[in-house]
Homo-oligomer: 269 residues x 4
C-alpha cells in the first residue's frame, strides 16, 4: 500500500475502509473532547483546580485541529473551495480564537476572545456528516417548513398585539416596562414556557393572560398537525408499491412482481 497524497486525501475525505473510518472516529472523539474541556473550563470551581490542565488540553486540541485544517486545505482538489465552504469556515472558527487569545494582552478584551473560543461548539455540526438516518426527519421538516414559517409569522403577530395590550394594561409598575418586554412575556406565555419572572397582577391582565394561554394551548396543535401530516405523507410515498397497467384489459393496479394480470389472466412477462 503506497502512502501517496491521493491515499491521504482518501483517508481524510472518505470513510469506506479501515484507515479512513479510524480517522473519522478519532476526529469524532477529539471534537467531543475539546467541547468537554470548554464546558468543564467554564465551571468556576473546576477552573480553579484544573485550569492549568484545561489550558494545556486546549492547546493540544487546537494544534491537532490546526494540523487537520491545513491537511484538508492541502489535500483538497480545489483548496479555495474547501476554505470558503460551510465546514471550512467552521473548522477555521474552531481554531482561530485560541491563536487570537495569544496576541491579546488586555484582560477585558481577553474575556471576549475567551467567549469567542466557545464558538468551537459549532464543531459539533461536523457530526452532521455522520448522521445519514436523519434524512427522513429532514425531508419531512423541509417539506413542511413553508407552512411552519407562516405559522410562526401568525404567532409573531399575536405576540406583537398581546405584548402591546399587556404593556397598556399592566404598565411599567408591574414589570411590563416596554413593548419589547411585553412581547418577551407574550412569547414566554404563548409557548407555555412560563418562567414567572414577569406575571400579570391586575384582574384585567390576568383575564387577558388566560385568553393568551388558552389560545397557545389550542394553536400548539397546528405545527404538530403540519409535521404529522407531512410525515404520514412521506411514509405513504415510500411505502407505496410501483403499479403497472395490463396491456390486455387495461386494469392498472398490478404490482411489478406479478407475472399474470389478476383481472384477465394474460401473461405479463
Amino acid at each position: 500500500m503506497k502512502f501517496s497524497k491521493k491515499r491521504l486525501a482518501h483517508i481524510v475525505f472518505e470513510s469506506d475502509d479501515w484507515a479512513s473510518k479510524t480517522f473519522d472516529i478519532v476526529l469524532l472523539f477529539m471534537i467531543f473532547g475539546s467541547i468537554l474541556v470548554s464546558i468543564l473550563d467554564s465551571v468556576g470551581s473546576l477552573r480553579a483546580s484544573y485550569g492549568e490542565i484545561f489550558l494545556w488540553l486546549e492547546w493540544v486540541f487546537t494544534a491537532l485541529f490546526t494540523v487537520e485544517y491545513f491537511l484538508r486545505v492541502w489535500l483538497s482538489r480545489k483548496p479555495s473551495g474547501y476554505i470558503f465552504s460551510f465546514y471550512g469556515v467552521v473548522d477555521l472558527l474552531a481554531i482561530l480564537p485560541s491563536y487570537v487569545s495569544f496576541f491579546v494582552v488586555n484582560s477585558q478584551l481577553l474575556a471576549v476572545v475567551r467567549a469567542l473560543r466557545l464558538l468551537r461548539v459549532i464543531r459539533i455540526l461536523k457530526l452532521g456528516r455522520y448522521v445519514s438516518e436523519a434524512e427522513y426527519l429532514q425531508r419531512s421538516l423541509r417539506a413542511s417548513s413553508h407552512k411552519i414559517m407562516i405559522f410562526i409569522g401568525f404567532v409573531v403577530t399575536i405576540v406583537l398585539i398581546m405584548g402591546t395590550l399587556m404593556f397598556i394594561i399592566e404598565g411599567p409598575e408591574h414589570g411590563f416596562t416596554s413593548i419589547p418586554v411585553g412581547m418577551y412575556w407574550a412569547i414566554v406565555t404563548l409557548t407555555t414556557v412560563g418562567f414567572g419572572d414577569i406575571t400579570p397582577s391586575t384582574p384585567l391582565g390576568q383575564f387577558v393572560s388566560s385568553i393568551i394561554m388558552l389560545l397557545g394551548y389550542a394553536i400548539i396543535a397546528v405545527p404538530t398537525g403540519i409535521v404529522s401530516t407531512e410525515m404520514a405523507s412521506q411514509r405513504k410515498k415510500a411505502d407505496a408499491p410501483k403499479l403497472m397497467t395490463c396491456t390486455n384489459c387495461g386494469k392498472d393496479n398490478l404490482k411489478q412482481v406479478d407475472n399474470f394480470c389478476a383481472n384477465c389472466g394474460i401473461k405479463l412477462r
Copy 2:
C-alpha cells in the same frame, strides 16, 4: 399611459403590474416602519434620547396613512362598503389615536390617549392582505373550529371546577384570594404554562394540582388530534384520484379501472 382615477384605483387595489406592486411594497415597509417606531418609543431609555425623532416619524406615518385612507375611500366603487369593511376599520383605527392626542390637553386624559395610540400595532393586521399561502392552514382550522370550541368549553368547565376546589382547599392565605384567581391559576396550570406566581402549599392542594397537571398532559392531545385529523383529511381530498364520467348516463364517480358503468351498465372499454 393616462393617469386617470381608474388607473389610480388599479394601483391601490390590485397588484398585477409594476406600479401597483411598488405601491404594495412601499405600503408594506411603511407598516413595518410605523410598528417599529411604536415599539422603540415604548422603551424608556430610547424614548429619552430619540423621543423627538419618534414623534416626528409618528406624524409622518400618520399623515401618509391618512392620505392612503382617504385615497381608498375616494377610489372605492362603494365608499361606505370600504369604510365599514374589516380592513376599513383597521385602517381608521391605525390613524385615529394620533389625531385624538392632538385635541386633548388634560394630562390625565392624555396618558389614556397615549395608550390608545399604541393600538397602532393593529396596523400589522393589514399584512393579512398579502398572505395568500395561509389558506391551507385556515381551511383546516376553520373545519375543526367547531370541535375546538367544544373542547375549549370542556376545558373552561374543568377550570371552573378546579379553580373553585383550589380556592376551598388553599384559601386566601396561600394566594388563592378568590374563585377568579383560582380559575386563573387553573388555566396557568392546565395549559402547562406554570408561572409559579401562585402555587399550592398544602399537601392536599399539591395532590389536587398533580391531578390537574396529569389531566392537562393527557387532554393536550385532543386539539392536536383534531387538527392533525382535519389536515390529513384536507390533504387526502387534494390527493384523491381523479374520477371519470360515464359517457352514457353522466354519473361521474367511476374508477378508472371499471369495465362497465356502475349506474347504467354500459360498457366503458
Copy 3:
C-alpha cells in the same frame, strides 16, 4: 292545548317544541347566573359592596332550583329513579348547601358550608345534556381511554422513581422535604408545567432534572399519538362507504348506490 301533568313532564324532560325549548334555555341562563353569583361573591371587594344583593340572588336561585327539583321528582314516572340518578344527585347537591347554612350558627362551620355551596358549579355538568356535537370527541376519547390509562400508569411509575431519586439527591435542605413532595415536583416537571416553587440546586440534581425534562418532552408525544390515531380511525369508519358483493362475478367493492356491477356489467337492482 290541555295543561296536564303529562304536558308538564314533556316540557321539563324533553326539548322538541316551543315550550320545552324555552324551559331549557331559561334553566341554562339560571345555571350560568347562579355560578356567576358564586364566583363574584368569592371576590372580597365585590362581597363587601354587593354582599347583600349576592345573598338575595342566591336565595332566589336556590328557591327556583328547589321548585325545579321537586317538579322533576313529582313528574318522573319513577321518582326514586330520578333521585338516585347522576343528575338527580347533582340537582340535590346544588340546593342542599344553602339550606344547611340556614341551620348552622357556628361561624367556623359556616365557612365550610359556604365552601360546600360552591359545589353548585357541578350544575354546569347539566349542560352536558345540550351538547350533542361532543359525541365524536367522546367516542374517540373513550376508545383510547384504555391506552391513556396505561400511559398514565407508566408516567406515575416514572414520577415515583424520579421523585424518590430527587429526594435522595437534593434532600430536605433544598425543598425536597419528602418523597410525596419529590413526586409533586416530578409531576410539575414531567408535564412541563414548571412552577419553579421547588427547583434543583445541586449540579447532580440539575442533571437528573434535565433527563426528566427531555423524557417528558419525548413522551408527551404518546397521548397525542394515541388520540390522533383513534380520531383518524373513527373518521375513516364514518367516511367509509358501505360495500356490496356482486352476485354474478363475486367482485365485492361495489358501492350501495351502484345499479350495475362495475366488473361484469350485470344489473344489480
Copy 4:
C-alpha cells in the same frame, strides 16, 4: 393435589389457576404496601409519629420478599439464569439495603444506606410482569425509538449551542454561572418547563430566549409526528385486509377480488 416442588414452581412462576393467581395478587399488594411505607416514612411528621410501625412493617416486607427471592432461586430450573436476569437483580436490590443497614453503625454512613433503601421503589418495576396491554404502545415506541434518538441528539446540540450563547450573553452575574448551568437553563426553556429559577435579564438575552422558545414550540411537533405516524402505521398493519394464497403456486398476497393468480395465471374462481 400433591404439593410438590413442581407444583410450587407453577404457583410462583405461572398465573393460570386459582393458587398461582392468588400468589400474584398477594405479591402485588405487598409491592404496593412496601412502596407506600417507604413514601410515608419519608414524610417528617409521619415518621415522628409512626416511625416505629414503619420500621416494623419494613422488616416484615423485607422478610417476605427475602423468602420470595430464595423461593424463586430454589425453584428456577436454572438458578443462575434467574439471579442474573433483570427481575432477579431488581428483586435482590429490593431487599439488600435493609440488610446492609443492619450491619452499619456509623451514623453518617447510615444516612447513605437509608437513602439506598429507598431504591426499593424499583420494586414497582416488578409490576411490568402484569401489564400485557402495554404491548401496542411499546411496539410503537420501539419502532420509532431510533428516530426519537436522532431527534434528542439534535435537541442536545441546540441545547449546547444555546447554553454556551446564553453563558456568553448573560454571564455569571445574571445566574448563568457556567456552560453546564446554561445548558440546564436551555433544556428547561426548550422543553417549555420554564421553572424561572434562572431567567434572562438583558434585552439581548431575552431576545435569544424568545428565539429558543419559538424553536422549542415548533420542534415539539417532531416527536409527536414520529409517534403518531408510527402508531397509525402499526394500526394499519393490524387492520389490513386478509390476503389469500394461490392453491396452485403458493403465492400468498392475492387480493380477495382477484380472478386469476397474479403469479402463475391459474383461474381462481
